[in-house]
């Protein structure tokens, strides 16, 4: 799979590439937007960045010869998001999840169930994770990516996907336990 961050961009695709782009890439517009929305934690920012990412995908499409076009597209979206985050200096986005801050209370299924049906709580918990953890959860649970696709998109070795997901899920469970018991959180 060619890296979208490198190589010459081609502003003009020939007719066959155009048709391929329409056939292969356009069905994944929703996936692209969803990833941007969760990485940026904002629908409005995601609109700008997803739009930019699609233009980049269009420019780089000529060099794409791989098999998994969705992973290729999501990789571009992810990289565009990170560039945007760095440029806009969302420093706290880049900090890792602080285990001390969130405590190490274990999250029981019961506690999770309380939070479970609550979209707002899940959103807050997911958004409280560092982007590196958040993207793993989003790719796996929302986009339904395989480990192989996650490795490609998040640029991590295939062998570390499982353990990274494990850590990300642990953090999400802890964050959910926090939102499930906000009053306890305030007392701390």
């Amino acid at each position: 799979m060619s890296s979208p961050a490198q190589g010459e961009g081609f502003d003009v695709l020939d007719a066959q590439d155009q048709v391929r782009f329409e056939m292969l890439v356009l069905p994944h517009l929703d996936a692209a937007f969803n990833l941007a929305r969760w990485l940026l934690r904002s629908g409005a920012d995601a609109e700008d960045v997803a739009q930019e990412a699609m233009l980049r995908a269009f420019r780089f499409f000529h060099g794409f010869h791989g098999a998994d076009v969705r992973a290729w597209l999501l990789q571009i979206v992810r990289n565009t998001c990170y560039t945007w985050l760095e440029k806009n200096r969302h420093v706290k986005d880049m900090t890792e999840f602080d285990e001390d801050l969130h405590g190490l209370r274990s999250a029981t299924p019961e506690m999770l169930a309380i939070a479970g049906d609550n979209r707002e709580r899940l959103t807050r918990a997911l958004e409280s994770l560092s982007p590196r953890f958040r993207e793993l959860i989003v790719l796996r649970e929302l986009e339904g990516c395989s480990y192989k696709e996650i490795a490609t998109i998040a640029s991590i070795p295939m062998g570390t996907v499982m353990s990274s997901l494990s850590r990300a899920r642990r953090q999400l469970q802890l964050a959910l336990a926090d939102t499930a018991r906000p009053e306890v959180n305030h007392e701390l």
Binding site: E22, W38, E47, R170
Partner: protein, 249 residues
């Protein structure tokens, strides 16, 4: 957490990413590790609550239109707007009107309208094929891949040849419906254009080619050896004639 598998293999198992051997091995472990059972339950509860919450956010329709407009201005790509039910209703209404008018025309004229209606359907099928995801059902430049693909999908077996050496590389094939019957469509490239060739069996005599243009697309239609052929493209008329000769030789 004392069981180290709860932080590793458990997730691979939960995500269906273990091979059969690994999964069986972990299931044996599950039988005696309550910690892993609890962890698995809690992961399942997490996943189901995420599913219920429907966190996936689709691209807003307005943005989708913006993106398609961007791409179209970047490269004159054809715009396929988001399909709303209303839009389909409008298309259906237009189609009904068209069909009704077409029927009127047929009942007035009679003889030459077979081809008129046929060309209309074939050009529409070609246009439809240019929408995302519709071009080919089987993507291959290998006729030994494309031809067997039609087996069992049609009640005839179309002749499939690759004319890459003559400047018409085979792109693939698909099923289409013309005149109410399932037919084979082959897709060829011609420089920067695409050509659809529709093929189906018939019982009439061979007929030399007739050609014309419709809605800005060139078509050429002929009958040979018990088969009827119709090619449509935005390529030049001479290109279609050349492809027709390749087919009939």
């Amino acid at each position: 957490m004392s069981c180290n598998r709860a932080d590793t293999v458990l997730h691979g198992y939960f995500d269906n990413e273990l091979d059969a051997l690994g999964a069986a091995e972990f299931e044996r472990h599950l039988e005696r590790c309550s910690e892993c059972i609890d962890a698995l339950e809690s992961l399942e509860s997490l996943r189901s609550s995420m599913n219920v919450a429907q966190l996936f956010e689709k691209m807003p329709a307005l943005l989708r239109e913006k993106v398609l407009a961007d791409l179209s201005s970047a490269n004159l790509i054809r715009i396929v707007p988001a399909r709303s039910p209303w839009r389909w209703l409008a298309i259906a209404a237009a189609f009904l009107l068209f069909a009704y008018t077409g029927w009127q025309v047929i009942s007035i004229h009679g003889s030459d309208n077979y081809e008129t209606v046929l060309i209309g359907e074939v050009v529409d099928a070609h246009l439809r094929s240019l929408q995302p995801g519709h071009l080919t059902d089987v993507v291959s430049s290998d006729r030994h891949t494309v031809k067997p693909w039609f087996d069992g999908k049609l009640d005839f077996s179309p002749e499939v040849q690759d004319f890459a050496d003559q400047g018409f590389p085979l792109q693939g094939g698909r099923l289409d419906v013309v005149r109410g019957r399932a037919i084979a469509a082959l897709v060829y490239g011609r420089r920067k254009h695409l050509v659809s060739i529709f093929i189906w069996p018939m019982t009439e005599k061979d007929a030399s080619s007739r050609e014309g243009s419709r809605q800005g697309y060139q078509w050429i239609h002929w009958r040979k050896g018990g088969m009827e052929f119709c090619a449509v493209s935005d390529a030049a008329p001479s290109d279609l004639e050349q492809l027709q000769r390749l087919f009939t030789e």
